[in-house]
């Protein structure tokens, strides 16, 4: 399994066709979409979605968080408008993700950006952002292929999950944890120095406070904006006043790809 992870240091094979090299990059994500997609399909089935609509929602919305939210809110009988509103607040975060990808997609046509935006989501964003930051040859075309591979695996896993859900009885609270585990993995991959861990703690506390205050996932958007702003201000202050601060030291970890990201940022 480790051989297939996207490692910016490995020597690329010049004869390898593009569909295969991008598939190799996308494969770890594709594989982890299988359990999460299955879980999501099972939950959507329990919420009353038929298999066809489960496929459709996976293709059109393509967001684990949003689809888990739809399933949860349908089972507590929320009205249509309030589900759509919650989805809007949950999906607002994509504005931040696509803003941060935009420097790498300059000069692309509007048609390309349209197609790219449809299949953008948290996880393929994380992969593409890493590749854009570490691999000079990574372009919008490769990034779009990664998005489409992950979309395919996601939709198929959801449909199969829906079919499993109609055949078996499954504990849904356990299935829900698949997405949490995925987010935890994403956090670990983003941690570059001690300061990042501090930001995580701040963000976690803020998220709890903001969600209790707003009684909705709007709190997620607010706390994300504030925590990332604090991170930015702390880092620029530290770099100015204490450039040698140990809070900025790189963390060593068994995988080497974080250091590659950092070097390209400097």
């Amino acid at each position: 399994m480790n051989k297939r992870r996207p490692n910016p240091k490995q020597v690329p094979d010049p004869d390898e066709p593009l569909w295969r090299s991008t598939l190799r990059v996308a494969m770890p994500l594709n594989l982890s979409y299988i359990p999460i997609g299955l879980a999501c399909g099972i939950l959507l089935h329990a919420a009353g979605f038929n298999t066809l609509l489960t496929g459709l929602v996976s293709l059109l919305i393509f967001s684990g968080g949003a689809q888990f939210l739809i399933a949860t809110m349908l089972t507590i009988n929320s009205p249509l408008l309030s589900i759509v509103l919650m989805l809007f607040f949950l999906e607002l975060r994509y504005a931040l993700l696509s803003s941060s990808l935009s420097p790498y997609l300059k000069g692309q046509s509007n048609r390309f950006l349209f197609i790219f935006a449809i299949s953008l989501n948290d996880e393929n964003y994380a992969i593409n952002y890493l590749k854009f930051a570490t691999d000079k040859k990574w372009t919008g075309k490769e990034a779009l292929m990664v998005e489409h591979y992950s979309l395919l695996f996601w939709a198929v896993s959801n449909v199969i999950g829906s079919l499993i859900g109609s055949a078996l009885k499954i504990d849904l609270s356990i299935v829900n944890f698949a997405l949490t585990a995925l987010f935890l993995y994403m956090i670990v991959m983003q941690i570059k120095n001690r300061l990042t861990i501090v930001i995580c703690l701040i963000s976690g506390v803020l998220a709890a406070v903001c969600m209790m205050a707003t009684k909705s996932t709007l709190g997620l958007v607010i706390s994300t904006l504030i925590a990332s702003l604090i991170g930015f201000l702390l880092e620029s202050t530290l770099r100015k006043k204490l450039p040698d601060s140990h809070w900025l030291w790189k963390l060593r970890s068994p995988g080497a790809k974080k250091s590659a990201v950092e070097n390209s940022n400097e």
Binding site: N2, A66, S98, S99, Q190
Partner: protein
Amino acid sequence: MSTVNTWTSMQHFWLIILGFFVAFIPRFLPLMLFTKRAIPEWFNEWMKYVPVSLFTALVVKDIFIDSATYQLVFGHIAEMLAAVIVVVIAYRTRSMAISVIVGLIAVFLLSLVVA
């Protein structure tokens, strides 16, 4: 959770269509705007901290916030312990698939013991 929902497939369909628009617009508009004009450097530096803040917030929501009342709960012991296991596994293996699968197995086994 049980199947208590009484929506028809047509209502589900409209939910998907509306959901598509609220999911698509925030993904598309910033790409459209910021690929055409320059982004200030400070904005990029700020955006660097968005993923980690967002993912942490989502994890806190999944583990510590009740999905119906939005109150803080500390009762999900199995999820908390499994989260620690996932972090260790993710740090050691750097593999997304292994982290998720180990996390699912851990929460299943732990919920048998502590719940």
